[in-house]
């Protein structure tokens, strides 16, 4: 009954797609309008926090390597931190804008964990390629939450922040346990299934 790794990736891709749509809408209308309804202010930070909670069962169930467990635990922690801090900021429990930097920290930690826990080269398989791509995406895109802390009204920064989650969702939806990437698939990767 345990889902395959690719199913878990697709479920998390859905979470990131929801985040992307909410953040893009917030970028278009502005934070003041977005937060006019209380539930909407909590929508994307809540989704982020919920994904952090769901990452713990992933960490517990997918124990094929210590590196995977550590990476999943790191993601769970930074998702909870970023989601929790953004919830507290939305609720007014935290007021200092520098707390937004926790999201940038989450991006850097997530990207680093993705790169470190992928032991195969880029063209080993699609999964390996995507782990490398996601790692570098998160590290480079950390500039958006970093700038968002200092330029909260910048539409370019807000759109870049939303686009990061959209690209992340696309990468995760493209993930398969064993599949070729640009015509390459290592013979030791296994046989592709459906």
């Amino acid at each position: 009954m345990q889902p395959l790794a690719e199913h878990v990736h697709w479920m998390f891709a859905t979470g990131f797609l929801i985040l992307a749509l909410c953040l893009f809408a917030e970028a278009v209308v502005g934070t003041e309008v977005w937060r006019q309804r209380r539930w909407r202010a909590y929508l994307w930070p809540g989704a982020l926090f919920l994904m952090g909670i769901f990452m713990w069962p992933v960490m517990i169930m997918f124990t094929n390597s210590t590196l995977h467990m550590l990476a999943h635990a790191a993601w769970a922690q930074v998702l909870l931190l970023a989601g929790g801090v953004e919830l507290a900021l939305a609720a007014g429990r935290l007021r200092n804008r520098y707390w937004h930097l926790c999201v940038a920290l989450a991006f850097v930690v997530s990207g680093t964990a993705s790169l470190i826990h992928e032991q195969n080269s880029w063209l080993f398989s699609r999964s390996a390629f995507l782990h490398h791509a996601i790692g570098w995406l998160m590290i480079t895109a950390a500039v958006f939450p970093f700038l968002r802390t200092f330029r909260p009204r910048s539409i370019v920064v807000a759109t870049g922040f939303a686009a990061t989650f959209l690209v992340l969702a696309v990468f995760l939806y493209a993930d398969r346990d064993v599949a070729e990437i640009f015509g390459h698939l290592s013979p030791v990767a296994g046989s592709p299934h459906r």
């Binding site: 199913h7 697709w10 797609l17 909410c22 309008v33 939806y173 459906r194």
Partner: protein
């Protein structure tokens, strides 16, 4: 109190309605993306040709989920957001 020139007011309204249109388009665009994906990669839709797959293969079908996210956004997030946007623009 200084009156805003009519042309400037009209331009502001037009710009604002673009924002409302963008919000209204997010859900349908996402839905369309899911439909196009399903057409391009029908093998990602397990329900079309199930061959003994278990629960997760039937529950997690990415193109269908993308369509669902688009529908939910259009139904629950976009209407209120457009309403609030238009209210704030009228102020």
């Amino acid at each position: 109190m200084r009156a805003e020139p009519a042309a400037q007011l009209e331009a502001t309204r037009a710009r604002r309605s673009v924002r409302a249109r963008v919000i209204a388009a997010i859900g349908p665009t996402t839905l369309l993306a899911g439909v196009v994906w399903g057409l391009l990669q029908p093998y990602r839709l397990t329900f079309l040709h199930p061959v003994g797959e278990g629960f997760w293969w039937l529950a997690v079908e990415p193109p269908l989920i993308v369509m669902l996210v688009g529908v939910l956004f259009a139904a629950f997030v976009a209407p209120g957001l457009i309403e609030d946007l238009e209210e704030s623009e009228e102020r």
